[in-house]
Amino acid sequence: MKILLFGITREITGQSRIDVPAQAGVTTVKGLKSWLAQQYPAMQGLTSLAVAVDSEYAQDEDVLNPEHEIALIPPVSGG
């Protein structure tokens, strides 16, 4: 499952896109956040971390489909 990264999450991982291996067993937004926290402890220091699916904010219990465009949304600061 591929995840797009922006802003500080791109800097934390050093990549603009990461691949969550199938054996990680990530199926939900909540599961993805737990996996990220383990892989990249610096993510836990962020004010917030949201997940977007096909350009809409997703909820923790939402199931992730690798066919969709999935992205991490660290705290926004536009304007």
């Binding site: 922006f6 220091g45 926004v76 536009g78």
Partner: protein, 136 residues
């Protein structure tokens, strides 16, 4: 409505779009780069956007504004890339028959943009830089 991400903001383009003979008010909010932040001199801001989602979320806000107020036209333009102090980085523009609607809608749009639209800014000081809002 006019919604887009650009390298350089053109205020005249926004005004030209918003102008209408049906409108008695055109409200234009321009967000600019401040040369200081929390006591430190800011030399530059870098803006990064998740383009597709940013446009989608700005469209949602525009739709909400059209539902809440009787608006004639609406524009949301946000800059991406490196911006120096003084440069415009966001324009929110609304035209309406009477001024109350355009003032209120303009305020709503910039406040909500700052909460939900996936755009990030990195502040550069003389000696270091930080992603704004990233850490508590």
């Amino acid at each position: 409505m006019l919604i887009k991400l650009v390298e350089h903001i053109d205020l005249n383009e926004a005004y030209a779009y918003l102008h209408s003979n049906e409108a008695g008010a055109v409200n234009l909010f321009v967000g600019t780069v401040r040369n200081h932040s929390k006591g430190k001199a800011v030399v530059r801001l870098d803006f990064e956007a998740y383009d597709a989602m940013a446009i989608r979320q700005m469209e949602h806000l525009a739709k909400q504004a059209f539902e809440k107020w009787p608006l004639v036209k609406l524009a949301i333009i946000h800059a991406v890339g490196a911006k120096e102090p003084g440069a415009p980085v966001v324009v929110i523009g609304v035209s309406s028959a009477h001024r109350d609607a355009s003032f209120e809608a303009c305020r709503f749009l910039i406040d909500e943009l700052k909460k939900t639209v996936p755009i990030w800014k990195k502040e550069f000081y003389q000696d270091n830089s930080v992603w704004v809002n990233a850490h508590p």
